[in-house]
Every structure is written in C-alpha cells, then in structure tokens.
Assembly symmetry: C2
Homo-oligomer: 578 residues x 2
C-alpha cells in the first residue's frame, strides 16, 4: 500500500491522523529553517511542512533537495495550518512529515507545469505526457469522460444498445479518402478503416436491433486543417421505425440532457430551420444564432440607380450592425480590407450609417437620395445609431462573404459568448451536388440518404432540386452532428446509385451486400452521428479539438511524441507483398 489518502482528500477533521501520501513536487518554498512542499496528484494539492527544529536531519535534507516533479511518498501527521488557503480543498491542513522517500527523481521539465505554461505548441506536443499534467488538459479529459458517460447513460435509458462494428472493413470510393491496411493473409488485397460505421449500423437495423449507438473511432485520410484529425470519435446512432421528427426529438433530448447534466444549462427548445432559410438569412448552413444580424435582400430596392456594382450584381444583401454608426473611416476601411481578402472574396463593401441624429451617411450617397437610403435602412430594421453593411455580386460568393462579415461583426460586438449555447436543427439539404470536374452528381451527405418523399419524382427530371431528408445539429455556428432518414427499399437505392453515376456492376461490387440485405425485410430507419471531439471542445468553451484528445496528431498527421508514421522493416514489407 503506497498511500492512505490522495492529495485531495484531507480536511480539518483529519487533524491528528497519521497518513501517507504520494504525488509530484509541485512547488518547494525553502525559508531556511522551514521548508514547504506542495505535493500534487490528480485529486488535488496538499501542503507538506518540514521544520528544521523537529525534523530528522536526513528527512529535512531530502526535502531541501527535492526538485520540481520529483515523485514522493511521505508519511506524516495531519495538522491545522496557521495560514489557511481558501483556494484549495485541503487548504485548512498541512502534513508534518516524518518520512520522505523519492519514488523517482525528475529532470527539470522543458516547460512549466502550470495553468499558464511557457512551452510552445511544438514542444508541448513532443512532451505531451508532461503537457497532460497541466490542469487545463486534465480538466478537458475529465470533461470528455463525463460527456461519454452521460451520453451512454441517456442512450441506455432509452433502450439503445451499444454494438461495436468492425474497424477493418472495405474501401469505398464515395466520400473522403480511406486509410487502407494491406492484408498479409490475402496478398494484394486491402482492408479500409471506416470513415463511419454507416453501412454496418444500417445492417444492424435490418437485424432488428431497433436502436443502436456506438462511441466509435472513425478515420479520414484528408489534408488536415487545424481542427481536423485523421482519427476522430463519433457518437454514432441509428433507429428503426422512425420518421425525421422522432429522431430530432430523441437526439434533441440527448443534447438538452448533456447541457443540463454536464454544464447545468437548460436548453428549452431547439428550433428547426430550412436549409434554404439558413442560406438566405445567414449565408451559411451553420448559422450562429447567438446573435441576430439576419441578411436582408436588397436586390429589388437598389437596382437601376446607375450604381454599376449593384446594377451588375446577381445578389445585393445587407446586414444591420447595431450601434456602429460612429465607426471611423479607418474602421470601415478595415472591414473593407477584410471582405476583400482572397479567402472572403468580395469586391468591396457598401455602408450606410444611420446616425444618431437621424441623418444618413453612406458610401453610395452619389447614387441614392436620403429618402432612398432611409427606405433601405428601414428595410434592414435599423435604428438610429446603427450601421448597415451591404455586399453585392455573384450570389454564392456574396452570401459566403457576408456570412464571414456577419461573424466578424458578432466577434467585434462580443455577441458570440462561448458560455451561451444556441442549437438549431438545419433540415432539408439538397440531396445532390454537381461535381463540375467529373460532370456528375455527388451525394451531399452520402448515397444512403433518402430524398424527401414529395421530391422522389424529381429524381429523373430535375435531380439538383431534390431535397434530402437530412438534418444537421448546429450549435453556435458549429456543425455538431448530422444524419438522415435512410433509403430502405432496394429499388430506390439502386436508382440513387444510378443518379450518382455508378454502373450496376460497380454498385453491386461495392454495396451488393447492402442491396442484398434490403431484400430481406428492411425496416424504415434513420440516424445521426455527432462529432464527439468537437462536442467536447464546445462544452469546454474552446475552438480547437486538439486539447480534448489525449494524444492528437499535428496538421501533417504526425504524432511527434512517438514519431509516427515511420519506416518499417524490409521483412515486414516483404511479408505484406509491398
């Protein structure tokens, strides 16, 4: 038995007890005749005290020679502190140590193990095991554990069953790039790692499991952005005998439960928004609803006044920014520079200041009378003191750019509070999107998504107008989950493959098992998957998922701590026939 208590256990009513503790040396304060050591473990910090006058000299010396992050085992007497520390749970007591043992020594760590550290990103990734000792990361992984646990609690209580689906599966050409695994026993053949357990969870519905879930690792061999990882975790779910609204209700309840249980936040209602409304009002299928600033279509209001930029535009859209009529020229120029950045892509920015005194000042004064400008700001629901910002041009670009500008203004006006949460279901996405390069349609979601019933007849005539029975859960402008009601009849699935340009042979080769399964009594079913890493980051109030994953990879897909990927031995390659 190494310890009688942890470093977070002891309280004032333990005074007088003989205890043994283990932990890391967090801090040493050496005042000559008295030495204090803060001993740290996962559970807390306990103060140790060594007094020259009544400590064995060997013990005193050992205390003095302790370095940061040494691992100690001590025994001693719990006593009341004279100077209490209200910031920690053990702050009323300290341990008068009579025995100290170095369980292990430590080199000086390459960065400080504190909430705020001096280590750069690269260094901390290399010494991830030390970075993980820091409080913020310990907290993040505890939050992750709690979210996992409560997700399971909720789904178990609703009669869902967690079933593990295989990791070594089959490569499919649809979707992102697969990681593949060469087979030694079947040379020249490969397994693939799953991008999601999609077909397996559908087969489980065909098997009659009724309600399935899994917290599961998935894999995508994509060029990584800052917030993507080659391996990531999903809350993967599927239900039988359900319509869309059954799924939205069930998983809306899951999200409400998690917010209540983990953060103590009550979410009353999760609104449902048409995809087309999301685009028209926010320029984005992931609207951040923590603030308003909805798009206002000004096309019919400003055309034909001789202002070429508007007269030539496919779309002219404004937003009303509250209380910003006093923006300086410099501030307006900064916004203009922002929207003109290549990644935003607007040609310029038009503003109308609706001054506090009721006058109007705009960059298009030449073309529009004050009355006309007043009409425009009225249409934008502006109040005196507000600022209207207008972009114009090709429709998609203008929507995208104005969406970015809206989010920027939200940030500037502190309207995007990370502790406030505004979920929304976005529904009825387009089923297909045109792939200009391949001159054929791709599935917007995946090939198993059902069209909404009334649009099925359009699949032949006008595929691009067909809406999918699909839905995303968006919280604060972040896509947290997405899913769909699935196709469950063989004929429709075959038609869908056909629309996606699969030959009969190809669809049989890739998905023959699923088409075959559809013949044996497939129930109507649908499901959803949540990005669990992102959910953790959202709950933790952070943007990057990296610090909610114990051992993440960097943006080149490398684990710099273990140095992977790496070369393998020649005989390994030969055995695999590579």
């Amino acid at each position: 038995m190494f310890r009688s208590h942890t470093c977070g256990d002891l309280r004032i009513n333990d005074v007088g007890s003989k205890v043994s503790l283990c932990g890391w040396v967090h801090k040493v304060r050496d005042k000559g005749k008295i030495i204090w050591i803060d001993l740290r473990d996962k559970y807390g910090i306990t103060q140790l005290i060594f007094e020259d006058s009544n400590t064995d000299s060997n013990t005193f010396l050992k205390a003095r020679n302790c370095g940061r992050e040494f691992v100690l085992k001590i025994t001693g007497l719990v006593s009341e502190r004279s100077a209490k520390n209200k910031n920690i749970d053990t702050g009323n007591i300290e341990i008068i140590v009579d025995e100290i043992q170095y369980l292990n020594k430590s080199e000086l760590p390459p960065f400080i193990i504190e909430d705020e550290t001096d280590g750069g990103e690269e260094l901390r990734m290399k010494y991830r095991y030390l970075d993980l000792r820091r409080n913020p990361l310990q907290k993040n992984l505890k939050l992750r554990h709690q979210l996992m646990r409560e997700t399971r609690n909720f789904l178990d209580s609703k009669n869902f069953i967690e079933i593990e689906t295989p990791v070594l599966i089959k490569s499919t050409p649809e979707g992102a790039r697969d990681f593949v695994v060469p087979s030694r026993m079947n040379q020249g053949e490969f397994y693939a790692l799953p991008q999601s357990p999609q077909t397996f969870k559908q087969l489980l519905m065909i098997s009659g499991f009724d309600k399935y879930y899994q917290l599961v690792k998935c894999f995508r061999d994509e060029d990584l952005r800052a917030d993507r990882q080659p391996e990531f975790t999903q809350i993967d779910c599927e239900m039988s005998f359900v319509e869309r609204d059954d799924i939205l209700s069930n998983f809306g309840d899951l999200i409400k439960y998690l917010f209540k249980k983990v953060l103590g936040i009550t979410i009353n209602n999760i609104p449902v928004m048409e995809f087309s409304d999301a685009i028209n009002f926010y320029g984005n299928d992931k609207p951040d609803l923590r603030f308003d600033m909805q798009f206002v279509d000004l096309f019919n209001d400003v055309k034909g006044s001789g202002f070429n930029v508007f007269d030539d535009a496919e779309a002219i859209i404004g937003i009303n920014v509250p209380n910003c009529s006093e923006y300086s020229r410099k501030q307006i120029d900064e916004l203009t520079d922002f929207v003109k950045k290549p990644q935003i892509g607007a040609k310029g920015l038009v503003y109308i200041k609706y001054n506090k005194d009721g006058t109007l000042k705009s960059s298009i004064d030449k073309f529009y009378s004050s009355d006309k400008l007043l009409d425009i700001v009225s249409k934008c629901n502006s109040n005196k003191g507000d600022l209207v910002l207008i972009l114009a041009g090709e429709k998609n670009n203008t929507q995208n750019a104005l969406s970015e500008l809206r989010l920027l203004m939200g940030n500037k006006l502190s309207l995007r509070n990370p502790k406030e949460f505004k979920p929304v279901w976005v529904v009825n996405f387009p089923l297909l999107k045109w792939n200009e390069e391949l001159k054929r349609f791709n599935a917007m979601h995946h090939p198993f998504t059902s069209p909404i019933n009334e649009d099925i007849s359009l699949l032949d005539k006008d595929p691009s107008s067909v809406r999918a029975n699909a839905y995303d859960l968006v919280i604060n402008g972040v896509e947290i989950g997405g899913g769909s009601v699935r196709i469950f009849k063989k004929e429709l699935q075959e038609k869908m493959f056909n629309v996606l340009g699969f030959t009969k042979e190809e669809s049989k080769k890739q998905f023959g098992f699923l088409l075959n399964a559809f013949q044996y009594g497939t129930p109507p079913h649908g499901g959803i998957a949540f990005g669990f890493d992102r959910l953790c980051a959202l709950f933790g109030g952070k943007e990057s998922i990296r610090d909610f994953i114990a051992f993440p990879k960097n943006t080149s897909g490398r684990d710099v701590m273990i140095d992977s990927p790496s070369k393998i031995k020649l005989d390994q390659l030969e055995e695999l026939g590579l």
Copy 2:
C-alpha cells in the same frame, strides 16, 4: 410516428386500447377463416388476429399474402386471448387488426430465423444481418452491452477515467505481427494499429491520471485459430502508486461485481496460485479449477524397477480419476489413442485400476508388486473404485499431455459445468523465455513488465530464473486477463531492453519517447487487460467468441459478408506510393 408500442409491451390491462405496432412476420397460421400472425421485434412477439367475418377483405387478403420476414405496420384493438400463452410476456393478449401495411416485403430467407436454424456456418456468416435476427445472437449482443455497461459503472465508481488512446500508432518489432497503414502524406512511412495501448497507458500514468481504463479495439495480424480474431476488444486498465496486491484486489472486485450484477453469481474468493504450482499441479498456466485431479509426482516412487519407459523418463506424473476403475479395455484404449495423437504427443498411457473390492489391476503388473501399486494409488489419494492414469517422458511434454488428458477426463465426468465459475490468479511467471531460433531471450509478457524485486539481481547472472511481477486471471481454464507491475525507472528499462537483445540505438529508436518520459517523474504503476470478447463468451456459457461479436471475421481474416479485404483502385495505390 410509426408505432404506439413495441411488440413486447402489451399486457392484459391494455385490453381495449387502440394501438399501432411495427415488426417482422415471424409466423403465419392460416386456418381459412382465421389467420394469426406472430409479429416480432427486438422487444418481443405479439399475436395478431384476422377473422374473415369481421375484417375488411383487403386487410384479410394482405394478411394471407404475408411472407416470413415481411415488415408490417398494423393498427388494431388489444383484446384478451382465449388461449393464453404463458411462454411470452404478451401471451395474454392479441391484436384484432383493422389496418395492415407492408412497410417492406422480404424474399424467403436462406435459412430459418429461429433459435435452432438450418443454416450452415458459412451461409450464416454471409447473411450475418439475418443470423443476427436470431434470438441467441440478439441475447449475446445484449449480454455484451450489459457487460460493457457494468464494467464502466464499476470502474467509474472507483474514480477511473476512460481515455481514448490513438489507433494510428507506431510499429514495434516486439510481440505479434502489426497491421500497418501506409501514410499518404508521409510517403514510404507507415502507421501501425495497436496490439494494445500499453505504452500510451503508461504515459497516462506519467501524466498523473492515476487510474485509467478503456474498452478498446486492438489488432493482431496473426494466423487465426477458431477463437482468435484479427481485431478484438480489451478492457485495458492502469493504476499508479500500487503494488501487485492492490491490483489483484481492485480487479478481483471488478470480476466479482460483474458475476454478481450480470449473472447473479457470488464469487467469494479468488485464490492466488504460483505459476510454478500451476505447472506442477495442472501442467498448465491456465488451470481449470472446477475439478480437482491434481498431478501427483511419482518420479521417486516408480523409478528403477526395470520398466524402461519409467526408468528413462525425465518426469513421471499421475492423476487420480474418481470412480473409473471399471473402465473397459476399449475405454482405456481410447484414452491411449488420445494421448498418442501428435498434438498431444505422449508415447503411451499407464493405468492402475483400484478396484472396488480393493484389488489392483494395471498395465505395469509385470514390473510392480501389488504392494507397490497400492503405495502408488495411496500417494494419488485414490479410493477404491478409482482409476490412476500415468504419463512419463520429457518433462514439458509430459506435463502438457497430462494436462490435456486431465481436461478430457473432466469433460467425460461432466466436471466442467459451464454455469460454474472458478477464477484464480496465476502469479510470478518467468520474466523471459529463451528463443532458440534467434538465440536470445524474449519477454514472456512484454518488455515493460517489472521483475519481482528480489530477482532483479539475477538479471545478469541467471536471466531465465528471474520471475516477473506479472499475473493472469484464469477462469475455468481460460485466460481472461493478464497484466503486470511495470518497470518505472529508466535504468531498469534500459537493462531490460539490453537483456532482450536490443542495441542502445534500437531501443532509443523504438521506445525513446518512453525512456525519455521515465526521466520526468514517473510514478510506480501497473495494470491489466481483459480479453473482452472472451469474457462475454464465458459469461454466455460458450467457448467460441465469434457469436459475441456483431460482425466477426472468418479464420482467414475475411469478412465474407462485405467481401473484405478486397482489391483497391490503382489510383489509390499510386497516391499511397505503393
């Protein structure tokens, strides 16, 4: 809303309610003027009734035309059955159906979806989604879910934290063969899939997480036996500041909790057995303790009587088989044939019958007097009516062969009841085993296992005699889990790599990150991993793990349902530089 209830919900006090149900047609009984359909879902079976006299003719016809495994939605009135069925929960009621809808039709399934099916293994694997509809498999996966859940409940309650470790890691030459994953972004380099999260969980201890667990997929590219899978699930655990007995106590409690909670069985005590005793008394490090029949060393008792087989033997060992003195010549011959099979490898079998009348009859009457034979059976603790079986020869072979014979006799005498459970900890395994081919030592467990303290000094002088601080949990002759106290000091780990024949460079290249981590305050730690698939099979009273995995692979590592592994496209290969 598809249904108001499931097929397992309705009871006598629902009589008179209007309900809607969905499910599969399990059975149709068509008696001309009355048709009964058993409608099945995950939750149960409900009887539907259609009477010619008071059913709409279209509905009646649809009921008549239902095939097995059609998916129906029906609405109707709950009414009391005249002939009750006590075997099912809904047996008191039936539904008088007024509306029936085919949600989907079904081809005739390739085998019967009943507890006992007529489908062969290969066919059922190909149509796994249909096999999974059968009750025994539904039950197995529910049991698996329950075991997962209760494992987490127990460990969570003990302050363990579940942390996901990466799946894309680094290939290491020690242990079984790795599956590897070519990296597209780092061409010529490979990730490996983990055989276990061993080094990561140790790093988590170094990070101060104190108590870690994970239900985690692991991977081994081995030639498969019937009860092995290339991907399998572990309950993986690690603790800091613990000694061996802390671990045995904690995880013994886990196992007791699972038996109690899931099977209602009380396990009072899990004995601890030395590895050497397991070998000496059972010929096996996985002793089945449901029955006795311990080995008796007869070496000193029978040597030098002119019987060459014994005189030349390195080991002579007997077991006492109760109540079998009346075995016929044919029965004894069968046992002899069994031990002489190549995979058992004994040269022959000696028996002594201790007849009920006190006389003795043996195959070595020529060489030993009755008194001598009496001495032998006395040493074996035989009673009148028992049979002593003796094997002799090279020591290891004799122990192995007699172990097999002991298990065979256990089976014959029905002493291996699958509903009785006898766990035992086997401890103090050898640290190393000699690899004759490579002329060096391998780690018996893995290179991170600590020697027991008093043997550390023998590492230089006599490595093969060093005992490991390692332990296995064995239940009913099956290894369910294993682990060890780990090395936690850099010097000892380096020495261990050295004993295993690693050069300094190799150990740095493979495990530099761990050796490095050991320098920054590594706590004493140890852990264990349980084979979760096997645990499920054990709890389910079955030997094969296959039917406790939703989508297993066959013994060639193939998933015959999805046809994987398979060829991938040329451009995929090119992108990977293969």
